[in-house]
């Protein structure tokens, strides 16, 4: 069961149990995007506040499997403070990594690196991606 242990890394479980930046705020300045994946029951909303090209806040809410929930939590923590440009680069790189596509190893994914184990589970790529795709949409 080494494969599964690669998926359920400690950091992931930690974020799953203690999600950061959870809950939305009522503020029109935030951009919000929601994605549902009906076949698995995932439902994630990401909320982002950008000021002067810098991500000042990033929040999430929803329900789903541990991978999708943890990846949302990791995402928000990682993105706060980044420039929009940087954030997009990181998100694209992350999405490529979990999808087992080519990605730039020089771009620092920080804690999000732990989701590399997903590559061995093609059926779970969506779980790890959904929050990040929603996040990218909040930047559009």
């Amino acid at each position: 069961m080494t494969g599964l242990d690669n998926l359920y890394r400690e950091i992931i479980m930690e974020h799953y149990k203690n999600p950061r930046n959870k809950g939305l705020v009522e503020n029109q300045d935030y951009r919000l995007f929601r994605i549902k994946n009906p076949s698995c029951g995932d439902d994630i909303t990401i909320q982002t506040l950008v000021v002067d090209g810098i991500i000042k806040d990033c929040r999430h809410i929803g329900h789903g499997c541990s991978i999708s929930m943890a990846s949302a939590s990791v995402l928000t923590e990682l993105m706060i403070g980044k420039s929009v440009e940087e954030a997009e680069k990181i998100a694209d790189n992350y999405l490529n990594m979990v999808a087992n596509k080519e990605y730039d190893e020089n771009i620092d994914l920080e804690e999000a690196e732990v989701f590399s184990g997903v590559r061995q589970f093609p059926a779970r790529i969506k779980c790890a991606s959904i929050a990040w795709v929603a996040f990218k949409d909040t930047l559009k």
């Binding site: 599964l4 076949s39 698995c40 779980c127």
Partner: protein, 401 residues
């Protein structure tokens, strides 16, 4: 039971994996694979229009299959329409009957046990016509009962669209009694038999249903083929849904006319190979006998349930399931986390909402796992399933779920 006599007919089962996902799609016996192959390899002709030998043979097999299907469900051949799937058949009824006949204020009865393919076409009809959707209140167990049906049935009821067997709960709907009542109110009844046809004897004359749909791929047959049964008196009167080659009698620039049912409902080239494969599937089922299938499934199901009931840390939602479907969750573990564990152990289950979100809502869950049992499943398969459930409970508990 030690030696399952049918397992050997299913070539998919060679890598030691066990298959508990028949409710999504069944495995195929060799005879079905060969029937499809025979068409592509030896015939490969179009039907109804050719004079050369392959075309004549293909047409004969195609129409013979219609008779085989008719015999299987006790219909007349001209009441048997080939479709792409259950979904296509149920949508067709919503177009040729629902959108044409329903008006504002009319009522459509459905249930929260419906598969999306049985519910959404009628939600669309309701939206477009102003008809009202009414839900039968499910009993404590999550079942459709005749009593609850009576409470929503009334003079405004025009359509009743119900599943014969729920793909999540595995319950058999008391559909015959419901049909009898509905007909007292001149409502028509559309039966979704996608999960019934492979488990119990479906007799459209005995049921007296107006329409009934099912899919080949869930009953040991090919993908891309489904059957829509419709009472001839209805089919005769209704307009086609799709227009094109082969379904017309005469085409003119201004007006055209259609063939008789069922042909007016089959436009263009149909899934010929899959039709031929469907006949082999029906033959296979008939050879075993649907009653024997039901008994086997029931035995294996009971064996599974007895053991699963002993495991703490899981919740089973349908202990009264009558068709070999077990829906459950490992407590506190989202089904998509759990399912990965089973996939790693080569135990093929399904996780999610099973295209039946309304019953998930009713159960108060986001999703669940489903194991569905069929003839190729053995006690040994169950042992592996049970063992894997135990391991999974432990694994996820240790992870801290």
């Amino acid at each position: 039971m030690m030696n399952n006599p049918w397992k050997k007919d299913f070539p998919q089962l060679t890598d030691g994996s066990v298959y508990f996902d028949t409710a999504a799609t069944s495995l195929k016996p060799q005879s079905v694979i060969e029937a499809v192959n025979h068409y592509y390899h030896d015939l490969s002709a179009n039907i109804h229009r050719g004079m050369y030998e392959a075309a004549v043979i293909t047409t004969e097999l195609y129409e013979r299959t219609r008779e085989t299907v008719a015999h299987f469900i006790n219909a007349n051949p001209e009441e048997v329409i080939y479709t792409r799937s259950t979904t296509a058949g149920l949508n067709m009824v919503s177009y040729i009957y629902g959108l044409e006949k329903l008006n504002e204020g009319d009522e459509i009865i459905v249930s929260e046990l419906e598969h999306h393919s049985s519910f959404l076409p009628w939600q669309n009809v309701a939206k477009k016509t102003g008809a009202l959707i009414r839900f039968i209140e499910l009993n404590q167990e999550g079942r459709i009962t005749v009593e609850a049906f009576k409470k929503v049935l009334n003079d405004k009821t025009k359509v009743v669209a119900l599943t014969y067997v729920s793909n999540v709960m595995g319950y058999i709907t008391p559909i015959k009694e419901i049909i009898e009542l509905a007909h007292q109110y001149q409502a028509i009844v559309i039966v979704d038999a996608a999960q019934a046809i492979q488990h119990i004897k479906v007799d459209v004359k005995d049921l007296d249903c107006d329409f009934l749909a099912f899919s080949g791929h869930k009953m040991l047959g090919p993908t891309g083929i489904g059957i829509l049964f419709g009472k001839y008196a209805l089919l005769k009167e209704l307009d086609p849904m799709e227009y094109g080659g082969d379904m017309n009698e005469d085409v003119n620039k201004d007006v055209s006319t259609w063939k008789e049912a069922p042909f007016k409902f089959e436009a263009g080239t149909m899934p010929i190979a899959s039709v031929l494969g469907l006949e082999a599937a029906i033959r296979y089922i008939e050879n075993i006998g649907i009653q024997n299938i039901h008994e086997h499934v029931t035995k294996v199901h009971r064996y599974a349930l007895a053991q699963l009931n002993q495991i703490s840390g899981i919740t089973i939602y349908n202990k009264g399931s009558e068709t070999g479907i077990i829906s459950f969750n490992i407590d506190n573990v989202p089904s998509h986390d759990a399912i990965t564990f089973f996939a790693e152990k080569k135990v093929a289950l399904r996780a999610g909402q099973h295209c039946a979100k309304l019953i998930c809502d009713w159960l108060g869950i986001y999703s669940c796992m489903r194991a569905s049992i069929y003839i190729y499943n053995t006690y040994k398969d169950v042992d592996l399933l049970v063992e894997t459930v135990k391991q999974a409970v432990e694994y996820f508990q240790e992870l801290g779920f």
